[in-house]
C-alpha cells in the first residue's frame, strides 16, 4: 500500500490574476474543453440566479442557493467519466444539468412535484440528499460495489464543511478507505453551515488533514478556481481507477450568499468580507482567464449566457406546465410490493 503523505496544505491554484500571479494550464484540456467548463459554469450560475428570482415570485419553494460554488461543481463534474456516479447534497441540486438533465426536472424538485424525481441510472446521478453527510456511505458503497463487479465506474460525493462533523461522513470515509473504494470525497468548504462558522465546526487546521486519519490523500484546492478543481478531481479519479482508493478534496470557497432563500445572513456574517468574496467570484475569474488566453470574446460569452437563460426560461415554463400530481402519487412508490392497508389512514 502506498504511503499516505500528510495532507497537501498549499491551496492549489491554476488561474492567475492577470498581474502578479501567472496563469497555469491543465494537461489535456484543449480550448473546446475549456469552453465546456465555461458553459457549465454559466448554466449553473444562470440556474441559481434565476431560481432565487423564481422563489421570490412564488414559482418554486425554499431553495438552497449555490452562487459562488459553480467552479467546484463544474470543475469536478466535468472531470468525471460518463459512467461515474454523482452523489449530490442539496447544494448540488442542479448538477444533473451537466449530465443532460433538463432544468424542468430540477425546478420540479424545488416545486415539490414528483416530476422532480429521476431514475438515478439515467444520469448516473443519485437523488438529492437532504440530510447532511448521510450519502457519503452511499457513494462509498456504490464505488465498492462497482469495483467488486469489475466495473470501472467511480463515484463522487459532494458535501459541505459542516458535514465533516457528522458521524455519517466519518463512517463513509472510513469504509471507502478500508474497501479501497474508487470514490472522491469532495468537501465544499464554504466556511459556513447556515450561521455556524468553520471555527465553530472544527479545531482541525485544515479539513484535508482529516483524510490522513483515514489513510487517504487529502488535497486542498481553491474552490473558486475551476481549473484547479478539475485537475485535483481528475488526479483523484486516476488514483481511484488505478485501484488506489479514495481521495479527499477540500475545495475552499466562501458562501457569499444566504444558505437558502429562507436564511437572513445579515445576523451573522461580515458584509465587508462578503463583498470582497463577491468581487472575486469564480465565474468572473474564469471568464477573465479565458479572455486573457484568447479563448473567449464578447460575442461568444453573450451567446453562452443567452443559451443558458433560454434553457431556464423553457425549464420554468415546462415545470409550471406540469399537471398537478395525481393523489395516487402518495401511495405509488414506497414499496415494490406494498403491504395491505397502505391506504388506510
Amino acid at each position: 500500500m502506498a504511503r499516505v503523505l500528510p495532507a497537501e496544505h498549499d491551496v492549489r491554484r491554476i488561474i492567475g490574476d492577470g498581474d502578479l500571479v501567472a496563469d497555469g494550464e491543465v494537461d489535456g484540456l484543449d480550448e473546446a474543453a475549456l469552453l465546456d467548463l465555461y458553459r457549465a459554469m454559466i448554466l449553473l450560475r444562470t440556474y441559481d440566479e434565476r431560481s432565487v428570482v423564481y422563489h421570490r415570485q412564488g414559482r418554486i419553494g425554499t431553495y438552497a442557493i449555490f452562487w459562488g460554488h459553480e467552479a467546484i461543481q463544474a470543475g469536478s463534474a466535468l472531470a468525471l467519466a460518463d459512467e461515474d456516479w454523482i452523489f449530490p447534497s442539496y447544494r448540488e441540486s442542479a448538477i444533473g444539468l451537466l449530465r443532460g438533465m433538463p432544468p424542468e426536472t430540477v425546478l420540479a424538485w424545488w416545486r415539490g412535484h414528483p416530476a422532480g424525481w429521476w431514475d438515478p441510472r439515467e444520469f448516473r446521478l443519485a437523488s438529492i440528499t437532504v440530510p447532511i453527510a448521510t450519502h457519503v456511505p452511499h457513494a462509498a458503497g456504490y464505488a465498492w460495489g462497482a469495483k467488486l463487479k469489475g466495473e470501472g465506474a467511480c463515484a463522487i460525493a459532494y458535501f459541505g464543511d459542516g458535514a465533516t462533523s457528522e458521524g455519517a461522513f466519518h463512517e463513509g470515509a472510513n469504509f471507502a478507505a478500508v474497501m479501497r473504494a474508487p470514490v472522491v470525497l469532495l468537501c465544499n468548504n464554504n466556511q459556513w453551515a447556515i450561521s455556524t462558522p468553520l471555527e465553530a465546526q472544527t479545531r482541525a487546521e485544515s479539513l484535508a488533514d482529516k483524510a490522513v486519519g483515514y489513510g487517504m490523500p487529502g488535497v486542498r484546492v481553491d474552490g473558486g478556481d475551476v481549473l484547479a478543481v478539475y485537475e485535483a478531481t481528475a488526479e483523484a479519479l486516476a488514483r481511484a481507477r488505478a485501484g488506489d482508493g479514495p481521495t479527499f478534496i477540500e475545495a475552499l470557497t466562501y458562501r457569499a450568499a444566504p444558505h437558502a432563500t429562507a436564511d437572513d445572513p445579515s445576523a451573522y456574517w461580515d458584509e465587508e468580507r462578503v463583498e470582497e468574496e463577491r468581487r472575486n467570484e469564480c465565474v468572473g475569474r474564469y471568464e477573465s482567464y479565458l479572455r486573457r488566453i484568447g479563448a473567449l470574446g464578447d460575442e461568444l460569452a453573450a451567446e453562452i449566457r443567452a443559451d443558458a437563460l433560454a434553457r431556464m426560461k423553457a425549464g420554468i415554463a415546462a415545470a409550471e406546465a406540469l399537471p398537478p400530481p395525481a393523489p395516487e402519487e402518495v401511495f405509488a412508490h414506497a414499496y415494490v410490493d406494498p403491504p395491505p392497508g397502505l391506504r388506510d389512514g
Binding site: 456516479w85 414528483p114 424525481w117 429521476w118 431514475d119 438515478p120 441510472r121 439515467e122 443519485a126 437523488s127 440530510p131 448521510t134 450519502h135 457519503v136 456511505p137 452511499h138 457513494a139 462509498a140 458503497g141 456504490y142 464505488a143 465498492w144 460495489g145 462497482a146 467488486l148 463487479k149 466495473e151 463515484a155 458521524g167 455519517a168 463512517e171 463513509g172 472510513n174 469504509f175 478500508v178 474497501m179 405509488a332 412508490h333 414506497a334 414499496y335 415494490v336 410490493d337 403491504p339 395491505p340 392497508g341
Partner: protein, 322 residues
Amino acid sequence: MAERTLVEAVNEALHVEMERDAMIMVMGEDVGRAGGVFRATAGLRDRFGVDRCVDTPLAEAGILGTAIGLAMAGWRPVCEMQYESFSYPCLDQLITHVGRYRWRTGGAMQFPLTIRMPTGGGVRAPELHEDSPEAYYVHTPGVKVAIPSTPADAKGLLAAAIRDPDPVVLMEPKVLYRSPRGEVPEGEHVVPLGKARIAREGTDVTLIAYGGMVPVCLEAAEQLEASAEVVDIRSLKPLDEDTILASVGKTGRVVVVQEAPRVAGFGAEIVAVIAEKAILDLQGPILRVTGYDVPFPYWSVEHEYLPTPARVAEAAEKVLAY
C-alpha cells in the same frame, strides 16, 4: 427434513440463498472470520469468498449506508447488526434513506436489502444486549419486518426477506437461537411475508404474539383450562389481519403479548386493528401483557420484566371471566 436450531436454520438459509444468487453478499461485524458472534454466518466466507462475506468496520450506520450504495450497484446486501441494541446507529440510514430511496426515485430503483439482527431478552446478557426494538423498524415506511419463532420459519422468512424486492428487517429471537430444535425443510425454503401462523388451535381465547413470546403463549395455553389458540404473527409488516380477525371471530377473547415496553409497542397496533375491525366479535376487553416502560433490566432480575406464562395465563383468565 432435518432437526435444526433456529440459528442453524438462519445459517442454512444464507448458504442456500447465496448459492442460488451470486449477487447476494453478507456484511457485518465479525461475520466473516468468526462466522458471527452467534455463528449465524459460519462457513460463508470460506464458501463464497471474502468479497461476498465481508467483515466490515465496526460502524452500523456505515454498514447500512454502504449497503444502500451496494444495492444501487446491483448487489443484494444482507446486513447483520450484531445485536438489536447495537442497531440504533443504523436507524439514521434506515429512516432517512432505506425506507425512502425507492419512493424518491419515483419507483425507478429497487433496494432489495435485508437487515438481520438478534433480538430480545432472556439470555442473561449485559446492558444493551436484550432490547426489543421492533416498533422502531415497523414504524418506518418503506420497510418490512418479520420475526420468526421456529427454526423452519427462520429459514423461510430469511429466504423471503432476501428475495423480496423491498428492504426487509428480520429480527431473530436470541432466546430461541439454540433451543428448541425444530424440523427444517432441506434446500430452498421460503415462508412468504404477510402470513401469520396458527401455532396452536383453540376455541375459547386467542393469544397473539411473535418471536420469543410465542413459546411463552404456548406454555400459558397449556396451563389454561380453557381452549387457547395461539397466533404467531411472524410478519409484522405486512401484517396478516385476516388470520388475526378469523381467530378473534372464533374466540371473541384476546390477549396480545409483547416483550417490548408497553407504550406504543407493536401490540398496540394489533389491538387497534381488532378494535377497528372486530369489535362486535369481542366478549371482553383486549388485554396486553408486555414488558414495562423501563430500560430492559439487569439480567439478574430480567425474569421480573419478561412476560411469563403465568402472567399471560392470568390475563387470559381475566378475559375469559369477563
